[in-house]
């Protein structure tokens, strides 16, 4: 959370990265920058293959986020749940820190009597409803993902429905990797709604390599660019600078 905002990277992948730096390292760096990395591992249907799903957990742990491994048909509900959970987790972290300031270093949430815990939860709920959220979605489009992309697309518009039902503002951005000529390709710049996705996935050429690490790095850079631009252009205005579309 920075400046009354929650910033998240949501990575959807089905397996091991095989190009570039260790994605967990990039995720750890993102965490330091105040950006949570959540990962959803998509399983091949019919196979109980957990191969490559260790990485899913590693990345999210390093990135201070939430991970979940699911079949493609469970994607919609999972994507919104993971995003929500990570948001609540972040907010709890912030509130905990505040509480520790007030109550002393050793005070943990569960040391509070149930009554007080309820009050804290109300505060977190309230914040989760009103805070602005920035989610950069990173989708693995390597060859094995091809059949799952329609489900991914559906899950993303579903996520948009869920988050836009909140009072607080939302901004989404979508990156695919591997890209056409580059390791990663931006297909959607910061926008409040993801309903303009139709067709994006259809004209995709899926590649063979999975450069998860570089893709995460690009996502991080994109967040930073946004941050810089904002601090350069205007300072006091909340949520203003993103009205103009594109860069």
């Amino acid at each position: 959370m920075s400046g009354g905002k929650i910033r998240q990277i949501l990575l959807l992948t089905d397996g091991c990265s095989n190009q570039g730096e260790d994605p967990a390292a990039v995720a750890a760096f993102a965490k330091e920058k105040g950006i949570t990395v959540n990962v959803i591992g998509i399983l091949e249907h019919g196979s109980a293959r957990e191969h490559g799903m260790k990485e899913v957990e590693d990345i999210s742990m390093a990135g201070g986020g939430v991970s979940q491994v699911v079949y493609a048909n469970q994607l919609s509900q999972t994507v919104q749940m993971v995003t929500r959970q990570a948001m609540t987790q972040t907010l709890h972290g912030v509130v905990h820190n505040e509480l520790r300031h007030i109550l002393g270093e050793e005070q943990e949430m569960e040391d509070l009597p149930p009554d007080k815990r309820g009050e804290v939860m109300e505060v977190v709920d309230e914040l989760g409803e009103n805070i602005s959220l920035e989610v950069l979605i990173l989708v693995d489009t390597s060859a094995s993902m091809k059949a799952k992309l329609p489900m991914v697309q559906e899950a993303l518009s579903d996520l948009s429905i869920s988050l836009n039902s909140r009072t607080g503002g939302n901004h989404f951005s979508l990156f695919l990797f591997p890209g056409k000529r580059k390791e990663v390709e931006k297909v959607l710049d910061w926008t409040p709604k993801i309903n303009s996705l139709t067709g994006t996935f259809n004209r995709l050429t899926t590649g063979g390599v999975t450069p998860t690490g570089p893709a995460l790095k690009a996502a991080l850079y994109h967040f930073e660019k946004r941050q810089d631009r904002r601090s350069l252009i205007e300072y006091g205005e909340e949520d203003g600078p993103f009205e103009e579309s594109g860069f």
Binding site: R84, P114, R117, S162, S165
Partner: protein
């Protein structure tokens, strides 16, 4: 139970009957009778307390039950406390080295909504829906939306049969966004609305539950480009018990009801119209026969009368004729002599 080396997450969901504990803060004693079930946030047990049997829900993790407890607390402040199961105790349980939150509530004994309508007949479904809509109306008036409304969260207690909800974990303040939902009952999933907590969200779920009572199982949304409203409309038409309520169901699916009381009124009117129609046709068929019989017997009577009239008329003619004949003979005989 300390000896168990199960996964941490399962410790709170694997308590065996007979397990006893004292609440960490309030020191109330509990003894487990049996496990009742488990949900997304925790496991529910039937327990023995100082005051009798009750249900206890033990959370999976530190914060998982907090929202639900908050909601139940709000409900218990509402006069009459009709909105959910009564909340009796909120505390922590220590299992091994871990602490889990739990709360104790009224134990609702009954059977699931779908089992009930399956056993007693689908004609019960609209009645239960009316009850549910009444409860929803009260809930909405208090400023809450149930959210994750589904048959699994509804139980039919009684007799007399009364539908009650028990898992209020998804209950959300009006105006916020729905966090917990189940796809089949979620208008967002069907592409028929957003997830804002407003009365029409619950009414959509109610309509889907109603539809499910006829089908008994969930079905998926149409694959391809078919409009989901057309699809659902077809699904409603396919099921004979739903047809009298089709208009109401579609109205709810479209999100056009602004309050539960309007939908309730319409369902009640539909039930009434149906039973009126039925009893009317019954009356007609029942009364048709006697009327016909009466009519038939009446005409018979009249016919008989006519026959009688005819015969008496003939007798009269014969009598007068013979009288005239005899008197003329007597006259001629008198002339002759």
């Amino acid at each position: 139970m300390e000896r168990k080396t199960v996964h941490l997450k399962n410790q709170a969901s694997n308590l065996t009957p007979g397990t006893k504990w004292l609440g960490k803060w309030n020191r109330n004693p509990y003894r487990i009778v049996k496990k009742l079930g488990y949900g997304a946030t925790g496991s529910v047990y039937l327990v023995e307390t100082r005051t009798g049997q009750a249900a206890v829900k033990i959370g999976e993790n530190k914060m998982s039950l907090t929202s639900e407890i908050n909601v139940l607390k709000h409900f218990s402040k509402v006069k009459g406390n009709v909105l959910g199961p009564s909340l009796w105790d909120v505390d922590d349980i220590e299992i091994g080295n871990e602490t889990y939150p739990f709360f104790c509530m009224e134990y609702l004994k009954g059977e699931s909504l779908l089992e009930f309508t399956k056993r007693k007949g689908v004609e019960w479904a609209p009645i239960l829906m009316v009850q549910l809509l009444g409860d929803l109306d009260r809930l909405h008036r208090e400023g809450w939306i149930f959210g994750d409304l589904k048959p699994e969260n509804l139980i039919v207690t009684g007799p007399p049969a009364r539908v009650r909800w028990f898992d209020v974990g998804g209950t959300t303040k009006i105006g916020r966004s729905i966090k917990e939902y189940t796809e089949f009952y979620d208008r967002g999933y069907w592409g028929l609305g957003d997830r804002k907590a407003e009365p029409s969200y619950d009414l959509f779920s109610t309509a889907m539950i109603f539809i499910q009572t006829a089908y008994r199982e969930r079905f998926n949304k149409p694959s391809g480009n078919e409009n989901s409203l057309d699809y659902l409309s077809r699904r409603i038409s396919n099921m004979y018990p739903l047809s009298p309520y089709k208009k109401i169901l579609l109205y709810a699916l479209k999100g056009k009801y602004t309050g539960a009381q309007w939908m309730k009124k319409d369902v009640m009117a539909a039930i009434e119209a149906r039973s009126y129609k039925r009893s009317n046709t019954k009356k007609i068929t029942r009364s048709a026969h006697p009327v016909k019989k009466k009519a038939r017997s009446g005409s018979n009577l009249r016919k008989n009368n006519r026959n009688k009239e005819n015969s008496s008329y003939r007798v009269e003619i014969i009598l007068t004729a013979s009288f005239l004949f005899l008197s003329s003979i007597l006259y001629f005989m008198g002339q002759w002599m």
